[in-house]
């Protein structure tokens, strides 16, 4: 992992790619109502997934009538064996392959080579990594981790002639020539498929290079290896997916070639002039997965790779470190189901829960939630939760104990606290955690000063409950103080239900759903949404957890379930409250004109979908908003993520602060105390000019009207 972080070429390439991908994807989807398209694809997939076996049987009837031999492989080994048997039965020596993630899943090449066949990958990227004896580092661009120099060295070795790294066109010609020979000599072609259409027995293959067409045309035998999840009922479903797949994968409106094959076609190199065609359907856990109420969603995946493209962690470490065979967010999930716990255990923890993948997925898979689900399943299966999980379960489950410990922390930190930060980290943090200063726990938590600082209003316009969350309550009570001052001027009465506790997100992030549920119930008992006009929170993470995850945790419970839904409807973030409820106007602010950069918290801009209001509020309040690069990319906090993966967290933070500094702003403003902790702590450790980090409530409220 550290090596990957130190690989400058990889870091720079993936960073440039992530930026250009965002632009080209947005352009490709112009004029399309994306939310409806996603909903349609998801609904179509969800309708098919419980009926994959029926779709298969319809497909099989059609395909066999057309002269295709259809096989079922229950496991990866079975698939490889079936394909090797087909090759032997047809006296095959040489095989050409089109790019197929399913074949990567079964390690088909390895098996065929062991059996003595000569296998040549014909997709350029796949060919390059085959020559290097590597696996793909991206589902769509398998060789994205390599520089032109590395490819030139490789091609020099392969051809015995010096290759110029700056003549990419020339290197492409080398591949064209070498691979053309392989096509002409091959006896058998192997492809995957993007679609298997049940009502016509057609397979659909999406490619750009055109190698898929050659693989299915020149050799006398064609074998397609297809996962059961690629079955769709009809062409309409396939075309709907095709509308999203290339746009989402590479920002193309359509890939250069889409090939639809029904039955063995004419082939003059085959005996009898007709191709021999086989389709192997791979189960390898898919049919069991299809029956799982939660995880079946993962079968919606159409392998576009978008979840890797936008993942801040993928961007830093690349696919060889972020997945096993399948890569990116979906890879963390599928690895567990297709390649087992051993391969999934470590990587599944590496999720910031920043929601970037979920926001970009063209089939609407709730990827971060499924990743946490896999994490939980692994914990349960292994039956030995780590110490921190046991502690957390014990402590969070009991509010009084939890808050007692937090108060105690103020005294315990005294010897190391200075200027609002912990100046020496406790021994259990390694030096890797020194990239940011950790804030000191406040002397008096918000709950203890609440009655004193929160005036009672005569005839308030609104009654609003404040959900504090641990950070505002115990670390940054001044953020709530700023809120009280500001809202008081607008005649809004705030309340602080005292029995509220941690929102429970940290428990869910560690896979402790039972604890998360208990905490949710505690909060709902403490705070009846029906008693207030709104429930406001200054913490985007708490807010998104309350709104999105409470319904999943206890939305079905009798009694409490109703309150969960009421809470969801009344929950609001600070900026939306100011702009949409109070409808503040520029004349209400003095306006300092200070230059302000903004960091969009993951849980605000994606989970809660609030993007316009904070930026408008900054400008309405008379500040100068300076847009920064990658405003909506995670700051690297991710709760306990930053403790488990300090190197990744540090690198994300560094980039974030660089971008903020580059705007020339005086202030860096955000609306989540978790992000404040990360950003302010990181800024404290930097040398040179420091940009002051503030919660947006302190910025807007700080200017006296």
């Amino acid at each position: 992992l550290k090596r990957a972080l130190g690989n400058q070429f990889l870091g720079a390439t993936l960073d440039t790619f992530a930026s250009s991908y965002k632009v080209s994807r947005a352009k490709a989807f112009e004029g399309i109502h994306l939310d409806s398209l996603i909903a349609e694809i998801a609904a179509g997939k969800d309708a098919s997934i419980p009926h994959l076996e029926e779709l298969f049987s319809a497909f099989k009837d059609r395909a066999e009538a057309a002269g295709i031999r259809v096989h079922v492989a229950r496991t990866a080994l079975e698939a490889n064996t079936i394909i090797a048997d087909i090759a032997r039965a047809n006296q095959v020596k040489k095989i050409v392959k089109g790019k197929s993630m399913t074949a990567e899943e079964t390690f088909l090449n390895h098996h065929l080579e062991e059996e003595g066949f000569v296998v040549t990958e014909t997709d350029l990227g796949e060919w390059i990594i085959q020559l290097r004896h590597e696996g793909p580092s991206h589902m769509v661009m398998p060789a994205i981790h390599l520089s032109r120099k590395e490819v030139a060295e490789l091609f020099t070795k392969v051809t015995g002639r010096q290759q110029d790294p700056d003549d990419i066109n020339g290197m492409i010609k080398v591949a064209r020539k070498e691979l053309r020979q392989a096509f002409l000599e091959a006896d058998m072609g192997i492809t995957g498929a993007n679609f298997a259409i049940a009502d016509t027995g057609t397979i659909g293959i999406v490619t750009n290079e055109g190698n898929g067409r050659l693989v299915t045309t020149l050799p006398r035998v064609h074998v397609a290896l297809i996962g059961f999840d690629k079955l769709v009922p009809d062409l309409k479903s396939a075309l709907r997916i095709l509308k999203a797949l290339p746009r989402s994968a590479t920002g193309q409106l359509i890939s250069t070639y889409v090939t639809w094959i029904n039955g063995p076609t004419e082939c003059t190199s085959a005996p009898g002039g007709r191709k021999e065609m086989h389709i192997v359907f791979l189960d390898n856990g898919r049919l069991a997965l299809a029956r799982d109420p939660l995880f079946s969603q993962a079968l919606r995946c159409i392998r576009c790779g978008a979840c890797a493209n936008v993942c801040p962690i993928y961007k830093l470490v690349g696919g060889h470190n972020y997945g096993h065979v399948y890569i990116g967010a979906i890879g963390l999930i599928l690895t567990y189901f297709y390649h087992g716990r051993e391969n999934a255990r470590a990587i599944v923890k590496a999720c910031l829960n920043c929601q970037a993948c979920k926001a970009v997925c063209p089939t609407g898979i709730d990827l971060p939630y499924l990743i946490k689900g896999v994490s939980r399943t692994i914990l349960e299966a292994e039956g030995k939760p780590p110490v921190k999980n046991r502690l957390l379960k014990h402590v969070l489950g009991n509010r009084k104990l939890f808050h007692f410990l937090l108060r105690g922390a103020y005294l315990a930190q005294k010897p190391v606290a200075g200027g609002g930060y912990l100046r020496h980290l406790p021994f259990f943090f390694s030096s890797a955690h020194g990239f940011r200063s950790l804030p000191a726990v406040a002397r008096t938590p918000l709950r203890d000063m609440w009655e004193r600082i929160n005036p009672r209003l005569d005839k308030p316009r609104y009654r609003v409950a404040l959900f504090g969350g641990c950070l505002v309550d115990f670390v940054y009570p001044e953020q709530a103080q700023a809120l009280i001052q500001l809202l008081g001027k607008h005649n809004v009465q705030l309340e602080y239900p005292m029995e509220q506790t941690c929102c429970g997100l940290p428990a869910m992030m560690m896979g402790e759903n039972e604890t998360a549920r208990e905490v949710a119930v505690q909060n709902l008992k403490s705070m009846d949404p029906a008693s207030y006009d709104f429930v406001l929170t200054l913490c985007a993470s708490c807010g998104s957890h309350l709104k999105e995850n409470y319904p999943k945790l206890c939305g079905e419970d009798e009694g409490i379930g109703l309150k969960v839904m009421q809470l969801r409807d009344k929950l609001i973030d600070f900026s939306s409250f100011m702009m949409n409820v109070l409808q503040v106007k520029p004349e209400m602010f003095e306006g300092s004109g200070k230059k302000v950069a903004y960091h969009a918290p993951c849980h605000l801009c994606r989970s809660l979908g609030v993007t316009r209001e904070p930026r408008e509020l900054i400008q309405t309040a008379g500040l100068t908003y300076l847009p920064a690069k990658d405003e909506d990319v995670c700051c690297g906090f991710g709760g306990s993520f930053s403790v488990d993966f300090p190197e990744i967290s540090a690198e994300l933070l560094k980039r974030k602060l660089d971008h903020a500094e580059a705007t020339g702003a005086d202030l860096l403003v955000t609306d989540c105390p978790g992000c404040v902790l990360q950003l302010r702590g990181g800024m404290d450790q930097r040398s040179g000019r420091k940009v002051e980090v503030r919660h947006i409530v302190e910025t807007v409220g700080g200017e006296k009207p």
Partner: protein
Amino acid sequence: MERDERLKLLKERAEAVQTSVSDVTGLQQAFLYAVEVTRSQGGSTIAAPALGPEERSQLAELCRQAEITLIVENVRDHIGKIQTGLTLGDWGVAETATLVLDSTSEDVRIATMLSETHVAILPRSRIKSDLMELEAELSESMKSAPRYLSFISGASRTADIERVLTIGVHGPQELHLLILDDELTGEEP
């Protein structure tokens, strides 16, 4: 979408994927275009396997004058020597600048996969706004096996080396669409 709008969109989208689009008034003009492209690229062979007997002799005459070899069958035997593959498209799709080509014949497949340049003649009346508009027709043709249908939207491309877009890694390096005026009146058919 009106006919002219569809055509305009097709041309716009084609340009974005480096497909060249030209209007032709008849087959003779289209054939001349194919001969001219072949000659200008220094080639000497055209593979045109799917023409009717009349068109075939029309093209053969033009090729003879230009000293170009015309291949109409057993295209596999000429792999490595085909400069231009000439085809008659089944449908066009404006939104994605896609040529829909029934490629069930092996000769058609090889002519369009292993030539340097693919020239496709596309009747104007066969251009649809988007792929969904063709769903019924395509689904119907998929019901009669064997069938090999191709959507072709530009030249063979890759971005596998440092994400630099490069043309012609496997298939043709150029795609030319010739829009054939097959509508006698300006009205919608």
